[in-house]
């Protein structure tokens, strides 16, 4: 039945893609932090990870210090933490279960096996020395999902909503990633430009798989402004906010015209505004106005777009969306 798509299925496929993308990004961030983020005394700073999703309150309710063990357990195997990798993959699998009539068997089996593996992981396996290999496995499992999906998922409406979800989540994750280091761009920070600082910005690029692409553009120098500009505004880098938002806009326009979907004009308008903004601003203007505030406003706009999509296509009323968002916190 390629001509129609149940609203509930569109919602599920959108969130399936988001959850897997979320898990992949988290694995990237944890991996890079474990490998590259050393301060001048060789210590690792894991507190900034906890700030990533504003998880401090929940984290410190059950842990006294952001040690590597505590943070990694919290973000990999803690099923009670809604922002953990295992929670994200559980969300993906629950949506996949709903979507089994729609998705390929290969997609389902891979997510099912992946989830069962994650659930069986124990704290004893999350020790330094194992971590890098473990994060690589998680990242690859997410990429395997993406690859299986690309190779087996039927190209109908569902495929569009899947990709829209994936790019929206990726845009959001990239803003959070940049936000971890935003304080380094504030004036009067003494070690800006020092070797440690450069190392941290390289780590940021690596976690977004952008290090080599960045080098091709800016062979000579790493400045915080250039890195931030690259991650936010570059049009060719697949994880930049601008690229992701541009893709969402393109996909939405296409799905509307191919399938004659009448709704979704509000989401399209929001996207247009955001695309224009990202296409016209330069990084020095953003820094001057305040990077953190800018990133916040992007995140709000992404949430607004999600709300418009939910109302236009996923069968939500405005109130139902609010209730859902509130209970997801």
């Amino acid at each position: 039945m390629p001509d129609v798509l149940l609203a509930r299925y569109a919602d599920s496929i959108f969130w399936l893609a988001r959850y897997v993308e979320r898990a992949e990004n988290l694995a990237r961030i944890l991996d890079v932090n474990e490998t590259f983020s050393r301060d001048s005394r060789g210590g690792q700073n894991w507190r900034s990870i906890v700030q990533l999703n504003s998880d401090e309150e929940r984290f410190f309710a059950s842990h006294d210090a952001p040690s590597v063990n505590n943070v990694v357990n919290f973000y990999v195997i803690d099923g009670d933490n809604p922002t953990s990798i295992v929670s994200a993959i559980r969300g993906a699998r629950e949506n996949a279960r709903t979507l089994r009539p729609l998705i390929s068997t290969e997609m389902w089996v891979q997510l099912n096996v992946f989830y069962n593996w994650l659930v069986a992981l124990t704290a004893a396996e999350l020790v330094p020395g194992n971590l890098s290999a473990l994060f690589a496995t998680i990242k690859e499992a997410c990429q395997t999902h993406t690859g299986i999906t690309e190779g087996t998922f039927f190209r109908d409406q569902g495929w569009y909503f899947y990709q829209i979800g994936r790019y929206l989540e990726r845009a959001d994750q990239t803003t959070r990633l940049v936000d971890i280091k935003y304080h380094l761009l504030l004036p009067n920070i003494s070690d800006v430009g020092s070797p440690v600082d450069v190392g941290q910005w390289h780590a940021l690029l690596r976690s977004a798989a952008g290090y080599h692409a960045y080098r091709r553009l800016h062979a000579a120098s790493t400045t915080p402004a250039r890195v931030a500009g690259f991650l936010l505004l570059n049009t060719a880098f697949p994880r930049s906010v601008h690229h992701c938002v541009w893709e969402v806009g393109r996909l939405l326009a296409e799905v509307k015209s191919h399938y004659g979907l009448r709704h979704g004009n509000d989401a399209a308008e929001e996207l247009d505004r955001l695309r224009v903004l990202l296409g016209t601003l330069d990084i020095s203007t953003i820094l001057r106005r305040g990077l953190h505030e800018f990133l916040d406003s992007i995140q709000y706009q992404l949430i607004a777009i999600t709300r418009e999509l939910a109302i236009a296509f996923f069968g939500y009323t405005s109130e139902a969306f609010q209730a859902e968002s509130a209970s997801a916190q």
């Binding site: 039945m1 129609v4 798509l5 149940l6 609203a7 509930r8 299925y9 569109a10 629950e94 279960r97 709903t98 089994r100 009539p101 068997t105 389902w108 089996v109 099912n112 096996v113 069962n116 409406q157 909503f161 399938y259 004659g260 979907l261 009448r262 709704h263 296509f313 996923f314 069968g315």
Partner: protein, 474 residues
């Protein structure tokens, strides 16, 4: 030499389908060429595959979900072409009669006037739906999907145990078990003329289109499920996929002007046929249980207006009632003027005083079943019951005789089964699946359920049962 699969196997005096059947000679020989170790290895792999594929039924406790697979035994249950022909013609006859019964009791009620079946047994049945009176269904088909439970006695005779004419489940296991066997035992099933089970979905959707409302040339079919928390959700997914139709829940559907629509990304889109896996009671809160959240308000209005086909039809629960079951041989003679091809298990209807007396006098030898329960619950197996259980059963019988039937304890047939690394006899039953649109078709074979506990006669998945692939060979 390593011990092979059937070495030392002893059916312990029961009718063993594997040893008695000429049709399984080749398979016996091939199994004898296989070591028990190799069989165990393949069995372990097969069960791991079921888990990874998520071919599971779901158990919910403490808000945590537990996925269990239906334990799968790799030694196939084999039926000959002649045996199958006998079963097939018997079930077609039976379903034809049941559909005639349903059409009659919701129209003229000739069978009640002629006194063949007691009037109150039908009209007083809690599954009789007065709402269905006077509705004319295409081809007079009420039971589109039927799963008839069949057993074999100590002489190998096939007997009908139960007609499941509401929402029988298990067909997904038949097809998935076959896929598993095709991968794990290509050597065993090579060149034996194994009848395929591949086309169930195609047959099902074509039967559903047969019964679509008149005037609809290209009907939109959907499968209505209670959702992912239902224990049979895997099967709902399987069937929706095999038919290529949307799997919907009640909240996806809406009734406007006596027409059914589903909510899509592009707005409301019409629905003509619903294969529902929800019981009558929960289908429409306007018509049945008002507190049901699974159903769709107004569905019965659309149905009565002729804008919707439901499969199975509403009100088929009368036909698979355990008390009505006892009358099925008479129902077949009444409508078809034929002798039943498949016999019932001898049944005593405890609402009849003589039968109640007989049951109370022979309680220790009989199986006593409540008429309204499914899933093997509430059954007392006389020869296995303790003194206290028999006394309890006697009290219940006397208090409400109409709620019970009794049957002799059938010495069910057995077939070799891999248990803890040994091959032992275990009791089996058979549920063939029949699809009826304009005519009736049977999936060759059906679901073989096996009681995995030693000596157990209860094959239900909720009570320690497993399944086997059923091979109809030429």
């Amino acid at each position: 030499m390593l011990p092979s699969v059937l070495d030392g196997y002893d059916p312990q005096g029961f009718y063993c389908e594997m040893l008695r059947s000429a049709a399984s000679r080749v398979i016996r020989e091939r199994l004898s060429g296989l070591s028990i170790e190799a069989l165990k290895r393949r069995a372990t792999n097969a069960n791991a595959e079921l888990y990874n594929l998520g071919i599971t039924f779901t158990v919910y406790s403490d808000a945590k979900t537990i996925d269990r697979i239906l334990p799968f035994d790799v030694i196939p249950r084999v039926l000959s072409g002649e045996e199958w022909q006998h079963i097939e013609s018997g079930i077609v006859q039976r379903i034809t009669a049941l559909n005639l019964l349903l059409d009659d009791i919701y129209h003229e009620q000739r069978i009640l006037r002629d006194g063949v079946v007691p009037r109150d047994l039908i009209l007083g049945n809690r599954n009789y739906r007065p709402l269905m009176r006077g509705i004319d269904l295409p081809y007079k088909t009420y039971v589109n999907i039927c799963g008839t439970d069949i057993v074999r006695d100590e002489r190998g005779q096939f007997l009908v145990l139960e007609d499941n004419a509401r929402t029988p489940s298990g067909v997904s296991y038949v097809v998935e078990n076959r896929h598993l066997m095709l991968r794990a035992f290509p050597d065993l099933l090579d060149q034996i003329g194994l009848r395929p089970v591949e086309n169930y979905g195609t047959r099902l959707i074509s039967a559903l289109c047969d019964v679509a409302p008149t005037g609809i040339t290209n009907p939109r079919v959907v499968l209505l499920s209670p959702g992912i928390y239902n224990s049979a959700y895997f099967e709902h997914v399987f069937l929706a996929r095999e038919m290529g139709v949307p799997l919907v829940e009640g909240r996806d559907l809406v009734v406007e002007d006596d027409r059914v629509f589903m909510r899509t990304t592009g707005g409301l889109s019409g629905v003509d046929v619903i294969y529902r896996r929800i019981d009558d009671d929960y289908l429409d809160p306007e018509a049945f249980r008002s507190e049901s959240l699974l159903g769709v308000p107004g569905l019965m209005r659309a149905y009565r207006a002729g804008n919707l086909a439901l499969a199975n039809a509403v009100g088929t629960g009368v036909a698979d009632d355990k008390a009505v079951y006892a009358y099925v041989p008479r129902i077949i003679r009444y409508y078809l003027a034929q002798e039943p091809i498949l016999q019932n298990v001898e049944t005593h209807i405890c609402r009849e005083p003589a039968a109640l007396r007989y049951t109370l006098d022979h309680l220790a030898d009989l199986v006593v079943k409540p008429v309204g329960e499914a899933g093997g619950y509430g059954i007392t197996v006389g020869p296995k019951a303790s003194r206290a259980e028999l006394d309890d059963c006697r009290t219940k019988l006397i208090a409400d005789p109409a709620n019970f039937i009794s049957q002799p304890c059938i010495k069910l047939s057995v077939t070799p089964t891999l248990i803890d690394g040994r091959v032992e006899p275990r009791h089996v039953d058979l549920r063939p699946f029949a699809i009826t649109g304009s005519s009736t078709w049977l999936l060759p074979g059906g679901l073989t359920r096996v009681a995995l506990r030693r000596g157990s006669l209860v094959v239900n998945s909720s009570q320690g049962g497993g399944s086997k692939d059923t091979w109809v060979v030429a």
